[in-house]
Symmetry: C2
Subunit: 376 residues, 2 copies
C-alpha cells in the first residue's frame, strides 16, 4: 500500500493524491460513505460501485464486533467477502461508539470496558484486542484505539486523555506489527491525533503519532460539537505539522462546506454519517443549498430533486414525488435520498480534485461554501 502526492494547490493547502490498496486505487481528496454494520444503509453494493462510484467505504468496528461478530466474519473470509464489496474498506477503532453508544463504559489503562447497547453484555476493548478485531474484519485501512474527547473538555482531562491515547497507540502499533493480515492482502494502521481544542496538545499529538504512521494519519476528536472555527483552526494547525507525504483523514467531518474548507486546509480523506443519516430524515444536499424535502413547499414542485445531480435518479424523480414518499413513509424515499446525498458528496470531492489540479479550487470553494450552507 502506498500514497502518492500528485499535486499541491499554490493558493491553499489543498492536495491531490492517490492511495493504492489491494482492493483498488483511491483518488484523494475522497469521501468515504459510512457502512456501519456491513451495509451502507439503504444502498445496494452495486449502486455504490456502479451508480455513484464510491472508491472506499467505512465500517464500524464496534458494530461489526457485536454483530455479526468476528467469528462469523472470519468464516466468511472477512468483511469484503461477507458483504460482497470488492473495493477498499476502512474501519474505525470502535472507540467513538464505545464512548457514545455503549452503556456503563469505564476507561482504564488496560482499555475500555462497556456493556453492549443491544443486550447489555459486558466487553473489553483493549488496544491489542481492537487490532485483533480489525485483523478479523480485514479492512484495508484500520484505526488505532483512541479516546475521543468530548466538547467541551477541560485542559487537564484533554491532556490526560491524549497521553492515554498515545500509550494505547504504542500498544496498537506493537500488536499490529506482531500480527499478520488474515486474508492474504496487506492492511495499514492509521494512528489518530487527539488533543481536543488545545494547540499545544494538538501539536504534541501530531508530532507523537506521526512516528507511528506507516501510510497515513487520522485526525480525531473534532466535529464533536465545537464551533466550526475551532474545528478549522485545529485542522489547519495539525495539517501544518503533519508530514506532507502521508494522507490525512479527518474523522467524522462533516457538512459539504466543512469538507471543502478542510480540503483547503490539507485534508485528504473524510467520512461522515451526515449524507446517509440526514437523507433518511429527508434532508437533501444540493449545489444550491440544502432542503428539507418533507416541507410543504415541495408538495407540487415537479422540478427534478436536483437538476445538477450526477446520478440519473435525482434528475428523473421530482421533488413532489420524493416528498410524497416521505409523507407516506415509504422505503424508496430513504433509498432515493441516500443515493442522492452520497452521490452529491462524492461528486463534490471529485470536482474539488479536478479544480485543485486545474488551479481553480480556491475561487470555486470560496464561492460555493456560502451557497452550500443556505437553506432552500
Amino acid at each position: 500500500m502506498k500514497f502518492e502526492l500528485e499535486h499541491s494547490d499554490p493558493q491553499s493547502q489543498a492536495r491531490v493524491g492517490t492511495l493504492q490498496t489491494a482492493h483498488g486505487q483511491i483518488p484523494t481528496p475522497i469521501f468515504m460513505p459510512v457502512g456501519t454494520i456491513g451495509t451502507v444503509k439503504g444502498v445496494h453494493q452495486k449502486e455504490l460501485s456502479e451508480d455513484i462510484k464510491a472508491k472506499i467505504i467505512l465500517g464500524n468496528t464496534y458494530h461489526l464486533y457485536l454483530r455479526p461478530g468476528t467469528e462469523l466474519l472470519e468464516k466468511a473470509g472477512g468483511l469484503h467477502q461477507f458483504m460482497n464489496w470488492q473495493g477498499p474498506i476502512l474501519t474505525d477503532s470502535g472507540g467513538f461508539q464505545v464512548f457514545s453508544l455503549a452503556h456503563r463504559r469505564k476507561i482504564k489503562e488496560e482499555g475500555a470496558t462497556f456493556a453492549s447497547h443491544i443486550d447489555g453484555s459486558k466487553h473489553l476493548f483493549s488496544p491489542e484486542g481492537v487490532m485483533d478485531i480489525q485483523r478479523s474484519i480485514g479492512a484495508d485501512i484500520i484505526m488505532a484505539f483512541d479516546e475521543c474527547t468530548p466538547y467541551p473538555c477541560d485542559y487537564r482531562y484533554a491532556k490526560k486523555s491524549m497521553e492515554l491515547t498515545h500509550r494505547w497507540l504504542k500498544r496498537c502499533y506493537t500488536r499490529f506489527k506482531e500480527t499478520e493480515p488474515k486474508y492474504g492482502y496487506p492492511q495499514s494502521l492509521f494512528p489518530i491525533v487527539q488533543g481536543s481544542v488545545y494547540k499545544d496538545l494538538r501539536l504534541k499529538s501530531a508530532e507523537t503519532v506521526a512516528q507511528y504512521a506507516d501510510l497515513g494519519i487520522a485526525i480525531g476528536g473534532l466535529s464533536v460539537g465545537e464551533p466550526k472555527e475551532e474545528m478549522y483552526a485545529m485542522t489547519d494547525l495539525v495539517c501544518s505539522q503533519l508530514p506532507t507525504d502521508k494522507p490525512r483523514y479527518l474523522m467524522g467531518v462533516g457538512t459539504p462546506a466543512n469538507i471543502l474548507e478542510c480540503i483547503a486546509l490539507g485534508v485528504d480523506m473524510f467520512d461522515c454519517v451526515m449524507p446517509t443519516r440526514n437523507a433518511r430524515h429527508g434532508l437533501i444536499f444540493t449545489r444550491k443549498g440544502k432542503l428539507n424535502i418533507k416541507n410543504k413547499k415541495w408538495k407540487d414542485d415537479f422540478s427534478p430533486i436536483d437538476e445538477d445531480a450526477p446520478n440519473p435518479t435525482s434528475r428523473q424523480h421530482t421533488k413532489a414525488y420524493l416528498r410524497h414518499l416521505f409523507t407516506v413513509n415509504e422505503l424508496l424515499g430513504m433509498q432515493i435520498a441516500t443515493l442522492h446525498n452520497l452521490s452529491f458528496y462524492l461528486e463534490l470531492v471529485r470536482e474539488a480534485r479536478e479544480r485543485i489540479l486545474d488551479g481553480s479550487f480556491r475561487a470555486w470553494k470560496d464561492e460555493l461554501v456560502p451557497i452550500l450552507e443556505q437553506k432552500r
Copy 2:
C-alpha cells in the same frame, strides 16, 4: 389496446398471449408487482424495469386517492409521470381496501362510505367516483368498483352482493364510456367476476360481466381465506365460461404454486403482495422451496441466497449476509429480499410462458408445484 391469444396448451387450459398497451407490450401469463402507493416498496423504478424486467405494475386506487390525491396526480400528469414509471400500470378499484382497511364502512346502493385509516376523514366511493379517480390516476388498465365478499360468506349475502356488484358495474361502464382519458393514451376497464364459492353465482357473474368486457376480465373474491381447492375450482369454472379471446386477471393470487396451478386453469394475469410483503419479513421463495432467512440455520451458510436466481444480487450475496441484515434490521435486507422474490415470481411466469409454447408446461408444473410448497 388489444389482446392477442397466441397459443393454447393442449395438455391444460394454459394460454400464451400478448396484451398491447400505450406503455408497452405485456407477454402473458404475467405477474404484476404491487406498487401500492406510487412505489413498489423497497425497489427503484430502474430496478423494476432493467434488473427484474417487470412488464406492468399495479397501483392501489384507495391509497393513491388518499395520498397524494387525485389533484396532485393530475398536476403531475398522471401516475406514470408522478412516479417516473414508463411501463404499463393497472389500478384496482379501491373496493378491497375499503372493505379491509378503512374504518366505519357502510355499503349502500349509491356506493361505499368509509373513514380513512390515516386520519378518519369521511369519504364516499361510488362507481362513478371510482371511474373518475382512475381517470385521474391514468392507469392503462382500470377496474370496476365491486364488493369483494369475505370467506366464508353465506349464499344469500353472496348473491345480494354479486347483484350489487353487477349494478355497480353497469354504472362504472356507463361513466367510463362517458368520459375521456386525461393524458392522451387510452385506458381499458376490466369488469370483475364475483359470486364467492357458489358455482351458480360464479357462472351467472361470469356471463353477466363478460358483456362489459372490452379488453379483459378480472376474477375477484378469491384468495380471501378459502381452501385452495375451492379457489382452484372457482377459477376453473369461471375460466371455462369466459370468452377465450380476452385475458383473465385473477386478483390477489397468490403463492408461486397457486400461480402455476391457475395458469394451468387459464389465467393470464396475476398480482399479489406476497413476494414483496413476505420479503420484508424475511421469507424467500426459491425453486427448492421457501425459506425464512431469519432462521438460525442460515447463520453461517455462505452459499448464495439463491444459486438459480436470474438476478445477480441473489447469486452474489450469501444467506448468512442476508440473515445478518435482517438480524440487525437493516434496510438493505428488505431491499435484497424484495428484489429477489419479485425476480423469482417474474422468472417463474416467464418460464411458464416458454414451457406453454414448447409443450412442456404441464409436466414441469406438476413436478415443480410440490417442491415450491416445501419449507427449506
